[in-house]
């Protein structure tokens, strides 16, 4: 096994075993851990407290305790988090943060303290209207409230210098991530859809400073290799997230390259650059204010269609793949709008409805395969 394979395998191992990974990081860094619900949370403040932020994006679950709290027509990530919480998976966390981006998340926040009382939750409210001059001020006040709640929970003060340093660590991480998703275009075989996703996913369970260093090491090692080409569709992938793993295998098997993504779980986390002026807290607020094309915020004139068209054009993509998480209202509302815009520009769309707890991906296999054939026939 060569150096690149070794480094990649380590990320794969971590993405497949979140709990073990977090436990290892806690041991090696001596840090406590704090859970972060999707979509965005002020991780920088948690990290500044010397605590490890851990991404909580669901996963495969057994059991059905969640049915005592939430009906079946609910986002599978939220149901999975509740199920895992009740099964004790998160007992090792010092607390969690739940933001209220949609009606479902508000309800999850309502149920969590009853269903999982031993894992303390700090709520977080983002402004969904970011067009007002009062929006940034409101968001900053929420960051400060969260900081204060976290300090109380951890019995520890967080200094401004700690927040500034933490923000710098996160900025370095975000720069590295932006470079990483670009690199996929030159090494689509090594960084196939599954590996690309798993490497990004592993960041949720690692200390960001260490992760960034390791990712840079991997990227440098990859760059020493000759550039690669694969025969298959080049696509921009959009949606909440692209999972489970066997779903991504289908793309890899059929030679797809994810030339760019617009996934909440991936690029939306790091694609927006921070402003150069202001304190770390202000920069954090304005990164959210400046974020475009995300359905979890109100956006005047909805730019997501334009964003997808721009990405498709920039990376010469053959199509846009839509990963529609069933029961995700914000994503479901966006789809008809950007679909219309992509259709007008003649951009192919592959629409796939997915859930985290899919028993089988057999049906999707045929669709992903035949779409690939159609695209390749068009090209040839």
């Amino acid at each position: 096994m060569n150096q690149v394979e070794l480094l990649i395998n380590q990320f794969l191992e971590e993405a497949r075993n979140p709990k073990q990974t977090v436990t290892n990081v806690m041991v090696s860094t001596g840090k406590k851990a704090f859970g972060c619900f999707p979509i965005y949370v002020p991780e920088e403040i948690i990290y500044a407290a010397g605590v490890l932020p851990v991404g909580m994006w669901g996963g495969q679950t057994q059991g059905s305790k969640v049915n005592a709290y939430i009906q079946s027509f609910c986002c599978s990530i939220m149901r999975a988090n509740m199920e895992q919480g009740m099964a004790g998976t998160y007992d090792f966390l010092d607390g969690i943060i739940i933001p209220t981006f949609c009606d479902t998340m508000k309800a999850i926040l309502a149920n969590w303290p009853v269903a999982v009382p031993h894992v303390k939750v700090i709520p977080f409210v983002y402004p969904q209207n970011r067009t007002s001059e009062y929006s940034a001020q409101f968001l900053i006040s929420q960051f400060r409230n969260f900081q204060s709640n976290l300090e109380n929970l951890l019995s520890k003060k967080i200094s401004e210098a700690d927040i500034e340093n933490s923000f710098l660590t996160y900025e370095k991480y975000r720069v590295a991530m932006r470079e990483f998703v670009e690199l996929v275009n030159y090494y689509p075989k090594t960084l196939n859809p599954k590996i690309r996703h798993m490497i990004i996913k592993a960041s949720n369970f690692n200390d960001k400073a260490v992760y960034t260093k390791r990712l840079r090491h991997l990227m440098e090692s990859i760059k020493e290799m000759p550039q690669e080409r694969v025969h298959g569709p080049k696509v921009v992938i959009t949606g909440l997230m692209a999972e489970p793993e066997q779903f991504l295998d289908l793309f890899t098997e059929n030679g797809y390259t994810f030339v760019a993504d617009d996934l909440a779980h991936e690029s939306r986390q790091f694609r927006t650059r921070a402003r150069s002026e202001g304190t770390a807290i202000e920069k954090m607020a304005y990164r959210i204010i400046d974020l475009r094309g995300c359905p979890f915020f109100y956006e005047e004139n909805k730019s997501r269609g334009t964003l997808l068209k721009t990405l498709a054009k920039k990376y010469n993509a053959d199509a846009v793949v839509v990963c529609m998480f069933k029961f995700c209202d914000p994503e479901e509302f966006d789809y008809p709008v950007y679909k219309n815009e992509l259709d007008k520009d003649g951009i192919n769309i592959l629409y796939l409805e997915i859930e985290q707890q899919m028993d089988s991906v057999a049906q999707l296999r045929t669709r992903i395969q035949s779409f690939s054939e159609m695209i390749m026939n068009e090209i040839n």
């Binding site: 402004p127 007002s132 009062y134 789809y335």
Partner: protein
């Protein structure tokens, strides 16, 4: 009785007809039309003398008159998921087809959206604004995770109210008349007060109010809260109900006896108003109140924008579960409730996903029985009359058992 000798029901019908007719006439005259969410600060629009219609009201009217399927199917053919709010699907479809046998509204020139009722309206109205390429005024009333309304939230809403005034001035080319705004605020408070006074008369046993009438009057508290005609309507309704209450007259014209008093949790099943009502009445069950009509009891100090901001961010959909549960439990006690019927409304995830926990608290703290049935506010494909009837019967059995234990007559 009013001076015109109209009953409140007749006045309600006249006012609603006039509301829709005036909007269509305004559009024909080239005046701008605003589409607004149902519990938005309509005071600003009314004070600017703008013509406003409410898509949620319209979707409910279309649903009640069984015309929803064509619009739902049109929206779904455009790519809207079957899982999203059916009011939104009806409205998206209507924005394409622009005609219903049930009721019609003119197309919008401005969108006015307040997120205090749900996050769903943000996406829905954002899409409508994009579709028609028209401006949207967004009032984000943030969720309150703590029991009390957060001061940060109030300041943020107040700021956005100021933004909204500036945007409305831009849109109309006219300055806001603050005296007129204060007057509209006074009217709105008065209308809301009469709305509450009328619906509160259902605390009487028997209740003079049949709760399904409350569903009917709701359309006007949405669209006439800022108008004197709204005040008149609810005052008249109050007087009629008061007269009935004083004479110990129950909810139904045919003198059927109110045996059980229940709360209906959630929005009505508009396409099945008849069956949902009749099955209850057949069993002597009167829905005396519901969880959300109180949302229009928006009271604040007229002239005080901050207090108004607080009122709009205080409605129960933006409050935490302890507040929501306490509110239901208070209603149950105040209205001497025997049971609760929870509508697991496929369109309203925000309300649905809290029902199981609220149901547990209701049982634990008050020992009041309840059942949950599946339905939808406008999509006729979710509700099953057989399931509803079985659940209602189960509720009646539990309520009868409770009464027996207490030695009350059944």
């Amino acid at each position: 009785m009013s001076e015109t000798n109209l009953t409140s029901k007749e006045l309600l019908s006249q006012l609603l007809q006039a509301h829709y007719a005036e909007a269509i006439a305004a559009k024909a005259e080239g005046k701008p039309v605003v589409w607004s969410t149902s519990i938005a600060p309509q005071e600003l629009l009314e004070a600017m003398d703008l013509t406003v219609v409410y898509p949620e009201n319209h979707a409910a009217a279309i649903g009640a008159r069984k015309d929803a399927p064509q619009f739902i199917s049109n929206a779904e053919s455009e790519g809207y998921s079957v899982d999203i709010c059916s009011y939104a699907r009806v409205n998206m479809g209507y924005a394409n087809l622009q005609f219903s046998e049930a009721e019609n509204i003119p197309m919008p020139d401005l969108i006015y959206c307040c997120s205090n009722i749900c996050c769903t309206v943000i996406k829905w109205y954002e899409n409508i604004a994009k579709k028609f390429n028209i401006p949207l005024i967004m009032l984000d009333a943030p969720f309150n995770p703590s029991y009390e309304v957060a001061e940060d939230n109030v300041i943020f809403v107040e700021g956005q109210l100021k933004d909204a005034i500036a945007k409305l001035e831009d849109f109309t080319g006219r300055k806001m008349d603050y005296d007129r705004l204060k007057e509209v605020m006074e009217i709105s408070n008065e209308t809301a007060t009469w709305w509450k006074k009328a619906t509160d008369l259902a605390v009487n046993v028997p209740s003079p109010l049949n709760g399904f009438d409350m569903f009917n009057y709701m359309a006007t508290i949405v669209c006439l809260r800022g108008r004197k005609t709204g005040t008149q309507l609810f005052k008249l309704w109050y007087e009629e109900l008061k007269e009935k209450a004083d004479g110990s007259i129950g909810p139904w014209k045919d003198s059927a006896e109110e045996k059980y008093r229940i709360i209906w949790d959630g929005i009505a099943c508009w396409p099945y108003l008849g069956p949902t009502y009749k099955i209850l009445k057949k069993n002597g069950v009167n829905m005396v109140t519901s969880t959300y009509p109180e949302s229009w009891t928006i009271l604040y100090e007229p002239g005080d924008l901050r207090d108004m901001a607080r009122a709009y961010d205080s409605i129960y959909t933006q409050r935490n579960i302890d507040y929501a549960a306490d509110r239901l439990l208070n209603l149950a006690t105040t209205f001497q409730i025997d049971g609760v019927l929870f509508h697991s409304n496929r369109s309203c995830k925000g309300m649905d996903f809290k029902q199981f926990e609220i149901q547990r608290r209701l049982t634990r703290e008050l020992g009041i029985p309840s059942v949950i049935f599946d339905g939808d506010q406008t999509d006729p494909n979710i509700f099953s009359e057989a399931q509803y009837e079985t659940r209602v019967q189960a509720l009646v059995e539990m309520m009868a058992e409770n009464k027996k234990k207490k030695g009350e007559k059944i």
